[in-house]
């Protein structure tokens, strides 16, 4: 009886460790998918900045960005602490969930990084390249947290 109990206990512990590892991997995959999808959506919009309009970038901050393509203004920022929102034509929609961080950096025509001012803004007129970085992830078990950081450089051809 005791031997059987010990055996059953060890079987359960083996099973639960396998299950935990499976759950963690699921979260890691989800974090990667979230980051990839968000970055792809943002790239598609941001690359069109300046198309058929005089000012392609309306507002450039280290945590948010508003671009203009033809007559449409589109802005991206983090909201509700863990989402990336896309505002276009007045309505805001979530494009990514469980976001830990989003940041923008900017380069001028010579490839130099622009230094943001005290409130994180950069001069919109000289921006030629945008570096977008997205970190996604959620705390899973105890100290382990699944997270994924992806970064991309965008050169809108109409700026």
């Amino acid at each position: 009886m005791v031997i059987a109990l010990v055996l059953l206990g060890s079987m359960y512990s083996v099973y639960s460790s396998h299950y935990n590892s499976f759950k963690v991997q699921e979260q890691v995959a989800e974090a990667q998918q979230n980051a990839r999808a968000a970055l792809q959506l943002m790239s598609r919009d941001i690359i069109m900045a300046g198309y058929s309009t005089a000012t392609g970038i309306i507002f450039a901050n280290i945590t948010s960005l508003t671009i203009k393509s033809a007559a449409t203004q589109t802005s991206y920022s983090r909201y509700s602490s863990a989402r990336i929102g896309r505002s276009s034509g007045g309505t805001r929609q979530a494009v990514a969930e469980s976001v830990k961080g989003i940041s923008f950096k900017y380069r001028d025509g010579a490839g130099n990084l622009l230094t943001p001012d005290g409130s994180g803004n950069v001069a919109v007129g000289i921006v030629r390249q945008i570096l977008v970085s997205v970190t996604t992830g959620t705390p899973v078990f105890g100290s382990y947290s699944a997270s994924c950081t992806l970064e991309t450089t965008l050169s809108p051809r109409n700026l």
Binding site: I3, G101, S103, A110, L131, C148, T153
Partner: protein
């Protein structure tokens, strides 16, 4: 008659203990499988990070354009690759070496980015050609 009676008594303690031993060996096999799987997952995450880091560097050079960088090697050692938030802790276990050479034909440059992992010194290497 006597022999038959002994046979119908069931298992002895010794037999059960041997069976338990055999079973626990099998259980240990499954447990060690978990260790291998977790290690594999960890390595695959490191490879994903290394790939993202080298892709990021390549995009940086491609977007800079041919005339805005020169040939040579740039090494970002362990602990010097900064994340978007300015911290170096996230990528402290990675080293990135970017090598730019002229060629293979006139007015082109070959860019090779290798990202090394500190844990096992294995690397993810990518290269591309940038034209003038």
């Amino acid at each position: 008659m006597n022999v038959r009676l002994v046979e119908t008594k069931g298992f002895t303690l010794i037999e059960i203990m041997i069976a338990t031993l055999v079973f626990s060996v099998a259980l240990m096999g499954i447990a060690s499988l978990a260790v291998v799987v977790i290690r594999g997952n960890f390595i695959s995450k490191q490879i994903s990070t290394a790939t993202a880091l080298s892709q990021q560097k390549m995009e940086e050079y491609i977007n800079k354009g041919y005339s805005n960088f020169s040939t040579g090697a740039v090494t970002e050692n362990y602990g010097s690759i900064t994340a978007a938030d300015g911290s170096t802790a996230l990528y402290s276990g990675y080293k990135r070496v970017s090598v730019i050479q002229n060629g293979p034909i006139a007015n082109t440059r070959t860019l090779n980015v290798s990202v090394y992992r500190q844990s096992d010194n294995a690397s993810a290497s990518f290269s591309t050609i940038i034209a003038k």
